[in-house]
Symmetry: C2
Subunit: 679 residues, 2 copies
């Protein structure tokens, strides 16, 4: 049995699934259940319209503390010509909410009444007088909440398909209900498969892959209104997977079979679907996530398990749920790709519409905004391409900075402020072009985001953490010091971190700022002084001590990218020492962050690299300090004076923040906050 993967366009894949579900009678609300009207009803979806059973108020209620009267009896009352009403037949004290006596049709608030005693004198027993005196007439029904003011019996209180909010629960109760009929939550089985998978928290050896997709998928199902079941990890074994799928099919409405959806040696998902039911789609032209499988599984499949069928049905007899409407014989299955970003997006794209249909609610939708791309995006023209982007409002422009495209980089989804869609047919977009972004965050959140670009430093992570306490988010993109200044010139960031040494003057940053962003008034503030040095493995096996040692043939170096301040520093000192870069093995091997360099050394990909002490410490490397340098924040004046960045600038004088930074090895906070330049 061979399996091939043919990508089909996204709308076609969605249409095939929909058609198959319609044919199977599954493109509908799955079923309804009656639940108590309590706070657990929050977020459930009404299965029927709610028509009021009773009116609210269900009687004429006083809207004030005061006296119920006949309005006609007050006619002619004037300040100079008061009217007196006897308690009992003409007036009766009522608290707010009390029913009016049959004969009354208005209420006079207590503060507009003179209470009289048996002698006709004003009394302090304001609620229990013998008579009252009033000096103004009242129209009928004043200060009365008439029957049905809020709800009239039989009116529509809520339509079917409504997702219940707190106030809805009150209105349903007011309409006479203590239970509510809601759509039953779809039960979704999540089956992680893969011999290489290990549960989260396991001690890892190379090749082990932490199984956390099922966690993300379960949480997605939960937030869509479904009931997820996470199955234990199933090894890559065709029969075992078939058995597990068939078992899950008995108790669930949908199966998510995670990974094994491609066409590799151990990719069994498509074959499993073919064996147990109908394979509708294998491969969708969507990126990330194209090896998606869509199919239907027969519940009463003829597939014979290793356990006998009897054994399985016995095992589940007690928990077999009441089936809704027709006995359904098929249930859908989605083969979810293994890379975490692909997995999450596949569920958003294919499962959310299904859950919406099954619950009878509208599909959740993201708001869209048009944003300006900061970088070119290349996109395969055949695919609908979803690009994760960071968003920032710089001046009055909404900017979208593409994040990592790697389908394995789940942090790109965590950091994403939105998804930019490059539709099928487009070959990509140029920097500066407009792109439609599906927003993960509100516009207001984006407007609180400080967009920082340039050189990477670990203190930026700390700054980010401290800023959340001051109602700001820090989004930082690492493009090296020069890249940051260029971005500032283009108006694409609020500030840049920079540590560019001028080899002629020994001064940092200023000459570069004048060169890269002339005519833009800036404020430059020192963030930290920091050590730069060589990172090597424990014990320094290659015996590296200085830059000269980099030219040894057995020393594999790892460099920073061109434009990075650390690269400038290296080149400056190589030049001073007249060392030709070509003599350094690995000079062309570039990493984009200090931690990237450290990771390359820790993993054995390289023997040494130039970087900061903090990065070495983080990955447990040895650090040989060579130079000290200053790391500055470069801020265009218009932003330096604005409200958005004020908390960031304040933090540079914050003792707690300074202390947190000084606890990182190799940092000198004595310069922090010093104004280096102010135009």
């Amino acid at each position: 049995m061979s399996v091939y993967l043919h990508d089909i366009p996204l709308p076609e894949a969605q249409a095939r699934l929909r058609q198959a579900l319609q044919d199977a009678g599954l493109w509908t609300v799955l079923g309804a259940e009656t639940i108590p009207l309590d706070e657990n009803a929050l977020g459930r979806v009404t299965a029927q319209p709610v028509w009021a059973k009773i009116s609210s108020p269900h009687y004429h209620a006083s809207a004030m503390d005061g006296f119920a009267v006949r309005a006609i009896a007050t006619h002619g009352a004037l300040p100079s010509k008061p009217v007196t009403l006897e308690i009992g037949s003409e007036a009766q004290y009522v608290d707010t909410g009390d029913p009016l006596p049959d004969w009354a049709n208005a209420v006079i608030p207590i503060e507009n009444v003179e209470s009289l005693d048996e002698l006709g004198k004003i009394t302090t027993e304001i609620r229990t007088p013998l008579s009252i005196r009033i000096r103004a007439s009242v129209p009928p029904w004043s200060h009365v909440r008439p029957l049905g003011e809020d709800i009239v019996a039989t009116q529509l209180v809520l339509p079917a398909g409504h997702v219940l909010r707190p106030v809805d629960l009150g209105a349903i109760a007011a309409a006479g209900y203590q239970e509510i009929e809601v759509a039953r939550r779809p039960r979704v089985a999540i089956i992680p498969t893969g011999t290489e998978l290990v549960p989260i928290g396991s001690k890892l050896k190379p090749g082990d892959i932490l199984e956390y997709n099922s966690l993300v998928l379960a949480a997605q199902i939960e937030s869509m209104g479904g009931e997820p079941t996470r199955y234990p990890i199933t090894k890559d074994d065709f029969d075992t997977i078939c058995e597990r799928v068939q078992e899950a099919a008995q108790e669930h409405d949908l199966i998510l079979l995670n990974a094994g959806s491609s066409a590799g040696a151990e990719d069994f998902s498509a074959k499993v679907v073919q064996r147990l039911g109908t394979l509708l789609v294998h491969g969708v032209a969507v990126r990330p996530g194209h090896p998606v499988i869509l199919g239907l599984i027969n519940r009463q499949s003829k597939f014979v398990n290793r356990k006998s069928k009897e054994e399985i049905s016995t095992a589940h007899a007690s928990t077999w749920p009441l089936r809704d409407s027709a006995q359904r014989e098929m249930i859908p299955i989605v083969g979810v790709p293994g890379y975490p970003v692909s997995a999450a997006l596949t569920v958003d794209i294919f499962v959310e519409p299904l859950m919406a249909q099954w619950l009878g609610r509208r599909q959740n939708e993201l708001q869209t905004e048009s944003a300006t791309l900061t970088r070119k995006i290349v996109s395969p023209p055949g695919d609908d391409d979803f690009v994760r982007v960071a968003l920032g409002m710089v001046g009055d422009k909404l900017l979208a900075a593409p994040l990592s495209r790697g389908a394995g980089v789940i942090t790109s989804l965590v950091q994403a402020d939105g998804l930019a869609l490059i539709p099928r047919g487009a070959q990509g977009l140029e920097a500066g072009e407009q792109v439609t972004v599906h927003m993960y965050r509100t516009r207001a959140e984006i407007e609180r985001t400080i967009f920082c670009i340039g050189s990477h430093d670990l203190t930026l992570d700390l700054l980010s953490q401290f800023l959340t306490e001051h109602d700001r988010r820090l989004a930082s993109a690492n493009v090296g010091s020069q890249g940051g200044l260029v971005a500032l010139r283009r108006g694409e960031a609020h500030l840049a971190g920079s540590h560019l040494l001028n080899p002629e003057t020994g001064e940092y940053n200023i000459s570069y700022i004048r060169q890269y962003m002339p005519n833009i008034p800036v404020k430059v503030i020192a963030l930290v002084g920091r050590d730069q040095g060589l990172m090597v493995k424990h014990g320094n096996p290659k015996g590296v001590r200085n830059l000269e040692d980099l030219t040894k043939l057995d020393v594999q170096f790892v460099n920073r990218q061109r434009g990075a301040g650390t690269r400038v520093l290296l080149d400056y000192h190589l030049n001073l020492m007249t060392i030709q870069p070509e003599r350094i093995v690995g000079y062309d091997q570039e990493e984009y962050t200090h931690l990237g360099v450290a990771a390359a050394i820790a993993s054995g990909r390289a023997d040494c690299g130039l970087g900061i002490a903090a990065a070495a410490q983080a990955l447990d490397l040895e650090f040989i300090p060579l130079f000290q340098e200053r790391y500055d924040l470069v801020i265009p004046k218009q932003f330096a004076e604005g409200e958005l960045l004020a908390p960031l600038i304040d933090l540079l004088a914050d003792h707690r923040f300074q202390q947190a930074v000084s606890q990182l090895r190799g940092y000198d906070v004595s310069v922090m906050g010093k104004i280096i330049l102010e135009d």
Copy 2:
């Protein structure tokens, strides 16, 4: 002990509460707890920054199915000059995700490889050849996911104060955690008080008030991330309420004492707070909701309960929770006003900031939009006034139509699309003025909303229900037929329901349309034919048979408002019959809907009224049919041809909808969908 209510401005009230909580050490995260990293962590708030413990991937992983090689060994390979690599020392098969052998630094995808057997011939054993032949070189690290590609150990994965989403759970797992430290959920006691309160579902007698505020409040607390406890109803008894509050204080972080917050005879809340702690605020200049109480309760109060103190502490000894940090001696209490709209808004205004602080997250915020008011709003200048509004996009204008101002009208909060804020200092706003609206719905939802204004008819409720199946919402405001045409002229609605009889021609609507909205091309479509007649109580006690009988002195009539089609119909027939309106008792008593008229009769406020059969049926009244009339939909041409209204127009030909309408008494669907006029 006397209690007075002095309204203070909202910001001052908020500041007093904040200051008192700061002084008591309660303006902080309450505490943290470590929970398993599973789908239940969704929505919880990180109590600490999450720094990566491990890198991901934690080894160099193949990104493809293929062969791991040394990149240098592929140098020089060309289509015409293939390079052969031995399996074992020079090449090794790897599946996606497999670790690279120590010696390898690149992967060649399987589809770019020729697999060779022992004879050097191409073999079908593509994964287990003896050697491979390649015809292109690869750069180092191609098709490899290097260690740390996603996460580098020590980097910041998530800041503290972050509300966990599905993908965050994956990233935290990838960073090496199987547990997560989150802010503990604040425990909130909700104590409903009031002798007149009865539980939902109770059989009601006049004066009984359904207690559903605690349900709404609990659901609000739940959705803010707290843990609500709903207490049973407590009668209006000072000692009992004190006892209940003190009991709740032992186990909770906040008490919401519902109702009794005003200054009436049975309003004990302020006195309770004074007795058990400190009253900070009684009365806030905010509308609705001004009788708000803010205070602090001593946990170890000296107040002596009817039960002995020993008894109480014994009762709770077993469930006494571990206290966070310092043993806190005070807890805040909010006296929540009794009207449901006031109650819900009070919790939004005063409790949400507290919950945000206690959970360490940002405050939830509503997006704001500027909208054009359709009606004048009068507002007390001393108050911050929150006006519930329905929103609609008519043409390119976002319109805000004020809904009922009654604090008892919970359906106004259910129907509200947003809250318009009339700030303190403003005396209100004129129709046509711009107002800032805090949005309950997204802009996209508003853009799917059909704004219907004019005469009320029960079929509009059915239409609303059917429209939800077609991705539309119907927002209808009842201002009578003429009011609807005026609104259309002003561009303030998409369509109007109208049944205006021309007394000269006997024709409906057309002459009025020409008069009220000249120069606006319209399409007029018949919705239904319907009976108009007199509604009377069962048994028709006053023996009303026709309009002549309305002039009997013992017959109390209830009328519709001026401009309503039913009012026109009545006046037309009174005129034909030369009956002077002044002769009808109650002619001036106006209701705005058919159901309002029916409710007035059902409740005994009136003996009869003119209206439609469906309304009589709804409230179980007798109906004496007198006339038949046609009810049309009047639609400006620009909207009649637009996409928004298409599903509504289609529904008029939908058999299911027609059948649903025909099941209401007194409706004739034979005219439904007939085009009456098309400009």
